[in-house]
Structures are given as C-alpha cells and as structure tokens.
Amino acid sequence: MTETTTAAAEIQSSPTAALAEPRARQLGVGADFLLRSVLPLVLAVGTGAIVLVAIGVDPIQYYKDIYSGGIQFGAWQDSVMRMAPLLLMAVGLIVVFRAGIWNLGMDGQFLFAGAIVSGTAPLLEHHLPNTLNLIVMFLLAGAVGAAWTIVPAVLKARYELNEIITTLMMTFIGINLAQVLVKGPFQDPTTTTPQTRTLDFRALLPSIPGTRIHVGIFVAAFAALLVWFLMSRTSFGLRLQVLGASVRAARHMGLDVPRLIIGSFLISGLFVGLAAAAEILGIWGYQRADYNPAFGLWVVPLVFLARLHPIGVVPYVFLLAAVSIGGDYAAQNANLTPRFTLLLVGLTLLYMALSEWLARRRELGGSYLPGVAARRRRAVARA
C-alpha cells in the first residue's frame, strides 16, 4: 500500500467497522448470542440496580414496576405502540449503517418531518377522506425525512465531507426549524401554548380492533420485512455491504458509490420520517414546540446489539419500548426522573463494547473491529 499524506483524510471509523459479523464457527451460536447480546443487558441491569441502591431506591421494586408498567395490565399495548417509531428508526439506521455511514442526525429528521405532518394534517383533514389523508401524510413525512438527509448525502458523495459533522449540523437546523414552524405558521390560534392544531380524534391512525394499538406497528413491521428482503436477497443489499466494507473496494467493483451513498441516506431518512408520522398520527395528533423524544441515540445500541439485522432488532426494540414505558411508571412511583432509562441504555452500549473486547481478547469470537483483525492477520502474514 502506498503512503499518502493526509490533507483530505477521512474518518475511517464506520458503523460496519464497529461491528464484526458474528463468528459462530468458533463459539457456537448460542454462546455467541449470550456473550454479545444478553450479557451486556444483564450487566447493565445489574449496574443500574447498584446505582438505584446507592440513591436509596429499592431496585427490585423498581424493576418490578418497570415490568408492571411496561408489560402487565395491558401496558404492553403502550409498549407496542412505542415500538412503531423506534422500529422504523432502527430499520432506517440499519440501512445506512450497513453502507458504513454514520447518520447521527435522526432527531432533526424526526422532528422536522413531525412538524410538517402535524402542521399539514389538520389542514387537509376536512378535504380528504381519513384514510387518504393518513396515506398522504405518511408519504409526506417520508419525503420530508428523506429530504433532510440530502445535504449531508450530497456533501459526502461529492466531496467526501465527513457525515458526522454534517448530520449533526442538520439535526440542529431541523430541530430549530421545527420549532419555528410550530410556533409560526402551524401555531394553533386557539391556544397560547406553542403547539400545532390538534388533529381530530377520528382522523388519527385507527386502532387494531380490540386493542388500543394503532396500525403504525404494521407499517413498522412491514418496513422491517422489506429491509430484511432488500439486505439479504437483492443486489442492492450486497452493494451496500460492499460499500460498508470499504469505499475503495466498492469503487473497484464498479459500483456507483455516490448513488449508493445518497440512496442509503435517503432510505434511512425516509424511515425516520415514517417514524415521525407514526408517532404524531398514532399517539399525539399534534406537536408541541418543546417536543423532542430524542429517540435517535436510543436506537443506536439496539441496532448494534442486533448486529444490523432488521428482523433481529425487533425483540430489542420491544425491550426498549417496554423499559421506556415501564420506566416512566417506575420513576413516578419511586419519585425519580424517567431519564433513568437513558442510563440503562447507555450502560448496555458500554457493556456491549466491553463484551466484544472480552470476546476478542480471549480469541473466542471474532474481533469487534474487523479492521484490526485483518491488520493483525496481515502483520502475522508479513512475519
């Protein structure tokens, strides 16, 4: 390999580099799964318990409350509803991560698409039949979410400008622009609270008969299946995987790298936009100016735990949804902030990284960083 100077060097970390494919050969599928996916969760829950004890809260009661608040007594229906946006965002992340791209601007895409939807849906409400209005709104949200990724996508595709900077900047712009819209043109004239007009109850997403669960979950499930098919069965999926492995390899294989970058960005933005539509049209019916669930970063650990698998991520999404719904209840009972859930999510991610390290150190499984493993092999080969 020739040495090059670094005037235009690019960050070489990528979501795919952060994650090796499971090497079940050496470990056995079960042990691999336990070590990489279950152990981090267990450790995070354990550490969380220690923190709870330290601040004088009974952890057993707390976790029990999470369970009863997130699963029992019909609460699972709320958890399933929370799944819809989370799963859509996870699926969107999987597409860009597979292509080796860090889209860290999901919150901006989510809020901006949400603002557009909650601003326009009440306007069209009386002109369109409900179903048509909902479909139009989903399409609109998807388009807006996708549009919000165009600038980072084009800058990366054309100038190799690092997408971490640009997506972060776009997310700030998106969040602020959403507030401008909500407080300005979309402001509900009948209230002083900065929020949009409220969609009529009957104009929201219909529920699955016999439950409170809105049909947004079907959109999410369909998206997961679609992306799974796309990734594992089509040429597009393989192209993304080659791009994710190495941009140089993709160029060498004759792939249209700029188009793949832009395409994967747009698809991920589309799903984030759909997530916003599901949340606004399924649960809220309006958007407040200070609304920001910050789902974006939550989803990152999930897709890593599921090793970028669009179906494999489903149970983790349910777990997170239940923990976040039940966490609100448990926090209320214990008189604590619901942000405890964030601690659990963050710890899970840290322990996940740690378990990958343990696996690598003992040479049980593959490396967490395929690049390092390859380099190590090369070092041995040179010897």
């Binding site: 100077t5 670094t6 005037a7 080659v242 492995a245 004759g254 041995v380 040179r382």
Partner: protein, 543 residues
C-alpha cells in the same frame, strides 16, 4: 517525554574506539531466537552477531523470517525464546523505546515519518530535553549530521512532499540523531531509484567509517555483493548459512552469486527445477511470438491529476497490441497506481484519451469498461480487491452484482454463485474449504488467486496486473506468472506493473519505464533489456 538525556555524544565516542572492529565483542548478538505466530514458526533458534564498522546483509525470500527477527531487535515483537546481548551484556528489549535507549534504530521499508510534520519536527519527535522544542539547536544539528553524510536537506520542508530517497535519508539522520549505534535497514532499496541506491551506498560507507553497525535486509543478491561485508541467509525461519567478510572479499561476484542462491534454495530441488524450467520456457517463448499490428489499447497523452501524496500521470502515450504482455517498470510511487486506475476507470482522466479496440473509453465508468472486457487486478488485494467479511463465492462474483446468471430481476441466486465458486476454486487451485468460506480467513496467496479467478473468468480482453506477485511465496508467484502467460496465449492483452525488474524480464514482450509520472521509454525484451531499462530508470530522474 524528553526526560531522557540526549545520547548524541555516543556517536563521536564510538568513532574513537573502532580502530579494530573485528577484535571487539559484537555490537549485537542474537542467541537462539525463536518466535512463533499462530500457524507459523517465523524464527527458529536463530543466532547471529552484528559487529561495528560492518554492513551485515540479512538475506532471504519473503517469509523467511527477516522482518520478524528485526522486529524483535527493534522491540516491536517479543521473542518466545532466546537471548539478546548488546556489547556482551544480556538485555531485554521490551519496547521500541527500550530499543532506542539501547542504541538500536530501525529504518523501515515504509517510512515512519509523519507526513504532515516538517523535517525538523520529525527529527525532534521523541527526542530532546525539557518542555519546549529547541528549533535553533536542532537546525544546527541537522546541518551537522547531513554534512557528515554528504546529503542536502531542507529542514522546513513538509516531509510528505519529499521523495522517498530523501525520506530515507531523514530516517537515517533520525537514527544518528538519537545516537544509535546499530542501524537496521529494512529493504532500503526497494523504493529507491538506481541513483538513490548509489547514494545510499555512499552513505553506508560513511556510516561504517563512523563505527556504526549496519544490518541490511534485502532479497537482492547484487546489492548484497556490492554493499555487504558479511552475509547471513535465512530460509523458512532458520539461519541456513553465513559468509564471513574474508570470504566475501576473496570470492568473485559470479561465485558468490551461485553460493548464495544455493543457500537460499538448498534442500528444495523441486523449486530449483521449477525455476530452471521456467527459464527455458521464457527463452522459447520470446522468439516464438508474433503479434497482430493493430493496437488493442492505446493511451494518447494521458494525464491524471495527482491526489495528495501522489505524483499523478503526465502525457503518457502507449500502444499495446492484442495478446501482448506489456510491462511497466519503475520505482513504487512513480505513477503506477494512477496508470492502472485510469485504465480501469477508477479515476478521472485529466487530459488525453484512452482507446480500447479503437473505441474511446476515457469517459466510461468502471462497470462499463468491465463490460467491454477490461479487467484490473489491484495491488491492494485486502483493502480493495476483496471484501473480507464475504464468502469466497460472493467475492468471485463481486463485479457481476445484479447481472445474470447470478442475479435475476435483482434477486440473488445462491445456487449459481456456489456452482461457479466450486468450479473456479478447482480451476485456480484455491485452498479454501468451499465457496462458503469467508475470504478473510484465506492466506495472501489464495486471496490473490481468488482475485485472479474473478478478473480472468468472465471473458476478459485486457487485464491490468498491478504488482501481481507482491508479497507472495515462490510457488504462488510461479503459479500467478503462469496464469498471466496462459491468458496472454489465449489472446488477452496484458499490462503488468511491477517493481521487480526480473519479473518483467521474465514475463513481458516489451517493457516501458514510468518515472515521476512520465513514460521515459519503451524497450523490447531481450538480452540487452535489463541494462536498457536500468538506464531509463536513471535517465531523467532528479533524485
């Protein structure tokens, strides 16, 4: 950081004590060094001594264990067994830092200078006292050391912009800067122009005179004979022979040549035979071939804009006939990759035109050229030529993504891919469990065979090989060269880019020389070709 006392006084003090180098204890003594990596015994009980005022050549093919041995000496790798003595005292070299403290410096094949820093900053890195950088004093020292070696270097130049020869000179100065008494040069000539090699030889003479011990790692025999005082030959991780200075001085060049070849290949009659056979084949082939006159590939004043750290390509014109094997000689980094990639379509043409079978392809994309029958065997088989996480089977069809029969209406057909994988694994004698094996688990040689299989299988018309045997063992090298020859006989036009002149003389019909991004001449292969190519390589090179 910088708390260490500057050891630069050592250079001068050792100069006084080198009156009779042969009588002293060795500067460095390696005793029974053994090192194994998973699956490889890289060093097997190697013992040797390096003396002051001597250039000690360490010879061996790729994979003979030279690099591992020197990595041990420079503290990058710890030995499993064995001892190291410096000036008769047993030491443990636990880190590169420790090696430096012991006066051992390594000059790597690929420079370890920081390309974004200036020459002076690179020299000050990790040396000197106190907190502040002392630029003035350092400048004076650089002038002094450069003067002693007879080289001229601008202290303020950004290192990445300098030629590889100059970078190597800085590396050597850096070693002297730290008062190193043992200098290890790892394949120092592989990146140099013939003129650069000459300059290096002069520098070595001065280093010897200053009483330094120099280890010179190489696999080139004539350099050994020209510059070495003592020779040790490694093979398969073992020390298989040594030539003492008296012998080296007494023997004639031919005799030494034979002796060293014998040492390097001893005990492997098969390989010796193979080499002999190969020689005959080549002799026969050179006279036999006659080629059609119309060119298959034409480059007309092709220029490529350089990327950072590159030279680019300037006004390159070529005509290559169908079925011809056309060689590109030159020192690494003189525009070889640019040439290969502009033909393959991986980088834009800045000016000029490329004609393929009379058709202008200069604006076509990689995939379109691929469809026309153009193939590119990259020199970066791990980073670019393969995707390590994918199976051998998928890697074999990576340039066919989306095309039948492997894809039908966008959907993958695993059966077809597997069948093709099996066929090619057989045909190219790839040692892999099957098409489902991850390619990342394969050896370098087998990975290269997968790349060749992919490029040469789907009806190629022109193939560009960039350093096709780089880093491969002798057997695979032979297999790869045989494959190139076979393809050419079937009518595939071939461009072989190599830094190994012997390889080009072995394979090619004509050889062109690329120097600083320009084509300096084209030579018909024949008895006089070696000399002519060497001339061309020196011809228009500044330094």
């Amino acid at each position: 950081m910088g708390r260490r006392k500057p050891p630069h006084q050592a250079t001068r003090s050792t100069m006084a004590t080198t009156l009779e180098p042969q009588q002293q204890t060795a500067a460095v003594e390696l005793i029974g060094i053994t090192k194994s990596f998973p699956g490889v015994l890289a060093n097997d009980r190697i013992s040797l001594a390096v003396r002051r005022g001597e250039v000690h050549c360490l010879l061996g093919e790729n994979g003979a264990g030279k690099s591992t041995l020197m990595s041990i000496l420079s503290g990058m790798v710890r030995p499993d067994e064995g001892a190291i003595r410096i000036d008769g005292r047993e030491v443990e070299i636990s880190s590169p830092r420790r090696a430096l403290e012991l006066g051992i410096a390594m000059v790597y094949q690929h420079t370890t200078l920081v390309p974004t820093l200036t020459v002076l900053e690179n020299l000050m890195l990790g040396t000197g006292d106190g907190v502040r950088l002392n630029a003035r004093r350092s400048r004076e020292r650089l002038a002094e050391l450069a003067g002693a070696l007879g080289v001229d270097i601008d202290p303020g130049a950004t290192t990445g912009a300098l030629s590889l020869g100059q970078q190597q000179q800085i590396e050597i100065i850096k070693a002297l800067w730290r008062g190193s008494r043992v200098l290890i040069l790892d394949e120092p000539t592989s990146m140099l122009t013939p003129q650069g090699v000459e300059e290096l030889a002069k520098v070595l003479v001065r280093l010897k005179a200053q009483g330094l011990a120099v280890v010179f790692i190489t696999h080139k025999l004539h350099e050994t004979i020209a510059m070495g005082d003592r020779v040790s030959v490694l093979r398969g991780g073992r020390l298989v022979g040594a030539i003492e200075p008296e012998e080296l001085r007494a023997a004639g060049s031919e005799e030494l040549h034979e002796r060293i070849v014998n040492l390097m290949f001893r005990g492997d009659a098969d390989e010796a035979e193979e080499v002999a056979e190969l020689q005959e084949q080549v002799e026969g082939r050179r006279t036999r071939r006659s080629l059609p006159a119309d060119p298959q590939l034409e480059l007309d004043r092709v220029s490529v804009a350089p990327q950072p750290g590159e030279i680019g390509l300037h006004d390159v014109s070529l005509e290559i006939r169908p079925g011809e094997i056309f060689g590109i000689a030159g020192v690494d980094g003189n525009g070889q990759r640019e040439l290969a990639e502009v033909i393959a379509g991986q980088r834009p043409l800045a000016a000029g035109e490329i004609l393929f079978g009379g058709l202008s392809i200069g604006r076509l994309k990689v995939a379109q050229r691929e469809k026309l029958g153009l193939r590119y065997v990259t020199d970066d088989r791990l980073g670019e030529g393969t995707v390590s996480a994918l199976s051998v089977g998928l890697n074999l069809v990576l340039k066919q993504i989306g095309h039948p029969p492997f894809w039908q209406r966008g959907r993958i057909r695993h059966g077809e891919i597997e069948a093709t994988g099996r066929r090619l694994i057989d045909e190219y004698e790839i040692k892999a469990g099957g098409p489902g094996t991850r390619i990342g688990t394969l050896s370098g040689g087998n990975t290269q065979k997968v790349v060749l299989a992919r490029e040469l299988s789907f009806d190629p018309k022109l193939a560009v090989y960039n350093k096709p045997t780089y880093g491969l063992d002798i057997k695979t090298t032979q297999a790869v060269r045989e494959r190139i020859r076979l393809q050419a006989e079937e009518g595939v036009t071939s461009v072989v880019i190599s830094t190994d002149l012997e390889e080009l003389l072995d394979l090619c019909d004509r050889i062109a020389v690329l120097s600083r991004g320009r084509l300096t001449g084209v030579v018909e292969n024949g008895p006089a070709a070696a000399g002519q190519v060497a001339e061309l390589m020196v011809g228009r090179i500044a330094a």
